[in-house]
Amino acid sequence: MWQGAHVDRLAKTGSIERDELAAALGRVAGGSRSALAEVYHKTSAKLFGICIRILGERAEAEDALQDIFISVWRKAGTFDAAKASPITWLAALARNRSIDRKRSQASRAPTSAMGDEAIEVADEAPDALAGLESAEEAGRIALCLGELEERQNRAIRAAFYEGLSYPEVARRLAVPLGTMKSWVRRGLLRLRECLER
């Protein structure tokens, strides 16, 4: 996943760091523990931030990060520098693994309302973490998300940043599942149209 050929917006410190990271991943694929330590040193704070945001709990996030770096150790050979930037590859791995973990927690817990069109009281408190997204606000996608209806914007961000599924987003925004899907789908088409404008 996340291997489109595109400009690397994540390695803000530039192409040198990106090249170093890609080279380190190459050495990890060759079995170098010190290269894995280098990758950990350079990226663990970013990846841990992703785990915590999605899993919402430090202990789970620590377990997730450990799993993720064991996967990096095993899967570094599948990283293709021609197709993806290294930090995007790692961030996507961290996000996908955290979402898998979150879903499997949900499957172990009682799931009375998971599949229902349950309506709960929305949390109207301002998002305590909203400020953390400021780095992205300058981007074109932020402008395009801003053009969406507020509820569409919130739903798409909740899915991306917190790994919420359709039923979870529906409960968060206190609307029936079908309504939520309809909002999100129309929002995604508008987002695509805006990004391609």
Partner: protein, 246 residues
């Protein structure tokens, strides 16, 4: 209020929902199968990944606790000490809700018993010690509609596989065909026709033995009786699963 979308829009929307992580259960499994086997869908997924990639900047950095790196090193040490063939199955990553989980778990257990127990009734005297052989690899698949659920265990030599249908109901005039996709972007290659209800040992085509590895995907499509006439999936892909170590 029902929205209607063109087929292209519908495909693009499912791709976006998949990339965002909105899908669960059977819808997620179906999307994973399509991403592995349907080039137009895979392209739509790649486009959405590229579109949404800048959002990663919005995740704040949080320093992990200092002891975590030591835990990772210890975990790698213990795995290496145990030998590469005993890497634990990362089962928690692959769990989805619903009956499909239970169905495939039943099939998995059955396939393992068959692969490990039945598979080699007369081990040749020259058989290498178990710890030196390649690990048994395993994939479980279940379709959204519940008509197909099966497990595939690839034996250590990769020349045979045990296919254990937990359920496999083909419509009249149709067969189920199993495919191996070696990795992202690779073309599906047929592993053969599978029919229920009894488990069967089947040969793995010689050309595919090297491609049977973790990161590969096994997919199931519906084809005309006797299999795809083209050598590629022609019918819908109804189920897919990743190849994992046992």
């Amino acid at each position: 209020m029902t929205d209607t979308f063109t087929p292209q829009e519908e495909r693009d929307l499912v791709a976006a929902e998949y990339v965002l992580g909105l899908l669960e259960g059977e819808a997620l499994m179906s999307a994973r199968g399509r991403a592995a086997t349907e080039p137009a869908f895979a392209a739509a997924v790649a486009q959405w990944e590229a579109r949404l990639e800048p959002l990663f900047e919005g995740f704040a950095e949080v320093a992990p606790p200092a002891h975590l790196w030591e835990s990772i090193k210890r975990s790698l040490d213990s795995q290496e000490a145990a030998g590469s063939s005993v890497v634990p199955l990362q089962s928690r990553e692959r769990l989805w809700r619903g009956w499909a989980v239970a169905m495939t778990a039943v099939a998995a257990g059955l396939a393992l018993v068959l692969a490990l127990g039945v598979a080699q009734p007369d081990p040749p005297p020259s058989a290498p010690p178990a710890e030196q052989r390649a690990p048994t690899l395993f994939a479980s698949l279940a379709s959204e509609d519940g008509r197909a659920a099966l497990a595939v265990a690839f034996e250590p030599g990769r020349d045979t596989m045990v296919v254990t249908p937990a359920r496999l109901l083909a419509a009249t005039g149709r067969d189920h065909e199993l495919w191996l996709i070696a990795g992202e972007g690779a073309a599906p290659v047929s592993l053969g026709i599978v029919r229920g209800p009894t488990p069967r040992r089947m040969p793995v085509p010689a050309a595919l033995r090297g491609a049977v590895a973790p990161e590969a995907t096994v997919a199931l499509s519906v084809e005309p009786t006797g299999g795809s006439p083209t050598g590629s999936p022609t019918g819908p892909v109804i189920a897919s699963g990743s190849v994992t170590r046992v």
